[in-house]
């Protein structure tokens, strides 16, 4: 700067041209960078002091020589390309290559080459500014290596400044969150954080400014499509050369799978606990029920006095039977371990419909059925009754304002053998898309306190144990809402010994 001011002052004098030439020469010679020039034949024409230091040749030795002396034999072709570009008036920027010193040692170098023109604008040669990068190289290598590691990591690795603005964004971050690095660099990190968790970022930044590190913090973040992703985050402050915190690096790992496993584990724990409790309660309830049932039956049988008392006892017996049914269903998931028998499935469906008849009538639900199962099938009646009653009870619950329940049974042919397909359809409220994925999970219920969340789960287990399949489709669309449950039971009974049948008692696990 000072020199330029000097130059403009001196510019008023006649020897301006000389002065600037000396100045240029001084600058060139004092430069730490190699500055040399050559003509279009590749003959070196000028050679500065840095060139001497880097290459080991003095100006006397090298000026007038071919530039090829500085280029390793295997890279001579480069020179022809460079000269071709220069002739075309092109400039070559920060070209990284290898050159050779007088000692024969090869070293990495970064070169910028520009054409030199005469007064008419014709290219007459080239100036070359080069920097020995052998010092920088190892550092760069490790930087590249680091960059490669960062980019190939499955974890999201993100850096941000102390204002929470994203500075870098790796491939893992793209895969985890769905945003490209282009979309996210320069954006606030808050975009990834669900609104209700924004306070976390404030807290994180506060800790970072204090130089603290945050280890394996488990939280929820948002993908581009709005889906939550459960992550474990480790955040460390980034310091500059002076040790001042200037930002943070953030490594986030997708722990959705692990969380899911944990949830399943908790669920199965719950289930086991419920099972144990159910078994204990079942014993306490079922035994007195057995006694009661016997006593009332005996009382009715031996009471010859009044027909009125007789009918009371009969009603009591019926009610007791109802309680027993509920106790069997909910307390023990008790399954009849008697051997399967040959039955018409529609007979069982009719049984269930009879049980629910009063509910169907009271709820204004009409029943439409078409039974075309012409063959008997070997099933455990108790299990099948439970399957049908669970599904039909759900259908009734879905049609609070009345509706139509249609049930069809027909023999079907499948690849792995023939079977019977049961379709139970209601035009009730339907199941929302988000709930549909969870309906077979234990303890999932949309019925609030009235549901146990066990019905469909048990139903699915029973169907699958019999070698069958169950599928549910549903719509909540106004005017078309409703749910269709399709159950397929093959005629062939999967091989199962009495042993595995007794093991089916769920609460024993």
């Amino acid at each position: 700067m000072n020199q330029r001011t000097d130059k403009s002052k001196k510019g008023e004098t006649d020897d301006l041209g000389d002065y600037s030439r000396y100045l240029l020469a001084a600058i060139i010679n004092s430069s730490d960078d190699v500055i040399i020039s050559k003509n279009l034949d590749g003959i070196i024409t000028t050679w500065n002091d840095a060139a001497r230091r880097v290459f080991g040749y003095t100006a006397d030795e090298i000026v007038g020589q071919s530039i090829l002396r500085l280029i390793p034999r295997e890279l001579h072709y480069e020179e022809f390309e460079i000269l071709a570009k220069i002739r075309a008036g092109e400039r070559i920027d920060h070209y990284e290559t290898v050159r050779v010193r007088k000692s024969g040692e090869k070293f990495p170098i970064s070169i910028t080459i520009s054409p030199v023109r005469d007064a008419t604008g014709k290219v007459i040669g080239a100036s070359k500014i080069a920097r020995d990068v052998s010092e920088r190289r190892p550092f760069d290598d490790s930087r590249f290596r680091l960059a490669a590691i960062v980019d190939s990591a499955d974890d999201a690795i993100i850096s941000k400044d102390l204002n929470g603005i994203i500075k870098t964004w790796n491939q893992g971050a793209y895969q985890m969150f769905g945003y490209t690095s282009k979309e996210m660099v320069g954006q606030p990190l808050l975009r990834l954080i669900p609104e209700e968790l924004h306070y976390e970022e404030v807290e994180i930044l506060r800790k970072l400014r204090a130089g603290e590190r945050i280890d394996h913090y488990e939280t929820t973040r948002l993908r581009k499509n709005g889906d939550p992703v459960e992550v474990s985050v480790t955040i460390s402050p980034i310091r500059n050369n002076e040790g001042r915190v200037i930002g943070a690096s953030k490594i986030a790992r997708d722990i959705s799978d692990r969380k899911h496993m944990e949830k399943m584990l908790i669920q199965s724990e719950k289930l086991a606990a419920t099972g144990r409790m159910a078994a204990a309660i079942a014993h306490e309830v079922n035994n007195p029920l057995e006694s009661l049932m016997n006593l009332i039956y005996l009382a009715r049988l031996n009471c010859t006095a009044s027909p009125k008392a007789q009918s009371y006892l009969l009603t009591a017996e019926g009610e007791l039977e109802r309680v027993s049914h509920i106790a069997r269903q909910t307390l023990g998931y008790y399954r009849d371990t008697g051997s399967p028998s040959e039955v018409y499935l529609h007979g069982l469906v009719e049984n269930v419909l009879t049980v629910y008849q009063s509910k169907l009538i009271a709820g204004g639900i009409s029943v439409e059925s078409s039974f075309n199962d012409l063959r008997k099938i070997s099933v455990s009646q108790g299990e099948m009754l439970q399957i049908f009653s669970n599904v039909i009870a759900n259908a009734i619950d879905a049609m609070k304002e009345g509706g139509r329940l249609s049930i069809s049974l027909r023999a079907t042919m499948a690849l792995d053998g023939d079977g019977i397909q049961i379709t139970i359809r209601d035009d009730g409220t339907g199941i929302s898309q988000e709930n549909l994925g969870q309906i077979f999970e234990p303890f999932f219920t949309t019925k609030g306190n009235l549901g146990t969340g066990i019905g469909l789960w048990v139903t699915k287990q029973l169907v699958e144990r019999r070698g069958g399949q169950i599928a549910i489709t549903s719509s909540t669309e106004y005017g078309k809402s409703g749910t269709t449950v399709t159950i397929y039971i093959p005629f062939a009974n999967p091989q199962r010994s009495r042993l595995s049948r007794t093991e089916q008692s769920i609460s024993s696990s």
Partner: protein
């Protein structure tokens, strides 16, 4: 009422009752030789007694025991055609009893009944020794119980 028939033995709790068995056996074989004999075992006295009375009225000759060991003693004298036993009982469980009975009197038809779902371990015990027993869930309606036993008869 039904108890008055005299053919139900409510004293099954103690083993020291064999004297009571002899005359009753003789008595029943005189009057109704065709009556199938059933031994009902449950540590809940009320269940055993009411079941006995129901089955008695249904044409069985019923005896009760409230304990597996006692049941074995009684069975030796009584030689039942049927054994209806609870599964979870102190001292000797229903499966152990059933195995012992079927070893000694292979012709005896055996039906287990239980109010608890968590008995598969106990059933397994029988399975391991090559025994499969039918099982009904408590509570079971008396008529269904009778049907179950009649089915075994055929």
């Amino acid at each position: 009422m039904g108890i008055g028939s005299g053919s139900i033995y409510f004293g099954g709790e103690s083993v020291s009752n064999p004297t009571g068995d002899q005359p009753r056996d003789a008595e029943t074989s005189e009057t109704q030789p065709a009556k199938p004999r059933i031994l009902i075992v449950d540590d809940e006295k009320l269940i055993a007694d009411t079941c006995a009375e129901i089955l008695q009225q249904a044409g069985f000759h019923a005896q009760t025991a409230y304990d597996g060991w006692v049941a074995l003693e009684i069975a030796a004298e009584f030689q039942p055609d049927y054994l209806l036993t609870d599964v979870l009982m102190p001292r000797m469980n229903g499966v152990e009893l059933a195995i012992a009975v079927s070893k000694m009197w292979p012709a005896t038809r055996i039906l287990l009944f239980s109010g608890q779902a968590g008995i598969s371990q106990t059933l397994l015990q029988g399975h391991e020794q090559g025994y499969e027993f039918e099982l009904v869930a408590k509570p079971v309606h008396p008529i269904k119980l009778i049907e179950r036993l009649q089915k075994q008869q055929s």
